[in-house]
């Protein structure tokens, strides 16, 4: 989906508004990732799932599907009680995408 299609799907919002929302999403996700890591370290998986879920929804709404899918994979790993190595790998994957695209 190209940017024009995205803007159209979102109700023909101006490109500047979309760019601003994307920028806010990345800024917010930096804080969320820190929070998520803290929840994982403290064994508070339910709260960590909630943060990953929120990131998934936010990026899906903005049609940034690669980031949304990475957040979704992390959410699934947390929900399924995956080993810490897998969770670390999913967090790293999401973190890299956020750095690359943000």
């Amino acid at each position: 989906m190209n940017k024009n299609q995205i803007l159209s799907e979102l109700g023909d919002i101006p490109e500047t508004v979309y760019d601003e929302l994307v920028s806010e999403a990345f800024e917010q996700s930096g804080r969320q990732l820190v929070e998520l890591r803290q929840f994982v370290s403290a064994g508070q998986s339910r709260k960590a799932v909630s943060v990953a879920h929120s990131m998934k929804g936010c990026f899906a709404n903005l049609r940034l599907n690669e980031v949304s899918h990475a957040a979704s994979a992390l959410e699934a790993a947390l929900k399924n009680g995956a080993q810490s190595e897998e969770i670390d790998a999913r967090v790293s994957e999401l973190s890299v995408l956020l750095r690359l695209q943000g």
């Binding site: 109700g11 929302l21 929120s54 929804g57």
Partner: protein, 143 residues
């Protein structure tokens, strides 16, 4: 034509702005960041005699979830003698596909899955509102 009133309940700040933008021009939109704020806004709207035409709500939210808030709204309506299916219409927007059963048990009228397009949000919102208005006109033809 007077704009309709909507309460938009979404904990994610960016999504909230996005959805509010989609509704702009058709609705006067109040926003709430979780179920507790939604309940406060709902109670205030009732107290002020300015009921919402629709509540558009996420499910997974901190403090009070969307389904918990919805159940409390339906309980408040029942105490006021408002029958099931005649209260404020509620449209659920969620990325939790598994939450639909829970949402309908709590009393929602319709749902959409994220990601949501402006077209589908406006179409579903109007469908739910018109459906409720039609139902209430049939029940109260003189009102």
């Amino acid at each position: 034509m007077a704009l309709r009133r909507a309460l938009l309940v979404e904990d994610d700040f960016v999504s909230r702005k996005l959805f509010a933008g989609m509704l702009r021009g058709r609705f006067v939109c109040d926003v709430a960041g979780d179920g507790l704020e939604a309940l406060e806004a709902y109670n205030l709207s009732v107290k002020n005699g300015l009921p919402y035409d629709i509540i558009i709500m996420d499910i997974g939210m901190p403090r009070v979830s969307g389904s918990e808030a919805l159940m409390l709204i339906r309980e408040a309506e029942a105490r006021e003698g408002i029958k099931s299916g005649q209260g404020v219409p509620v449209l659920i927007i969620t990325a939790h596909k598994s939450a639909f059963g829970e949402s309908f048990r709590a009393g929602c009228d319709a749902y959409l899955t994220k990601p949501v397009s402006a077209e589908s949000l406006l179409a579903k919102t109007m469908e739910v509102i018109l459906d409720r208005e039609g139902t209430n006109e049939q029940k109260h033809p003189d009102s």
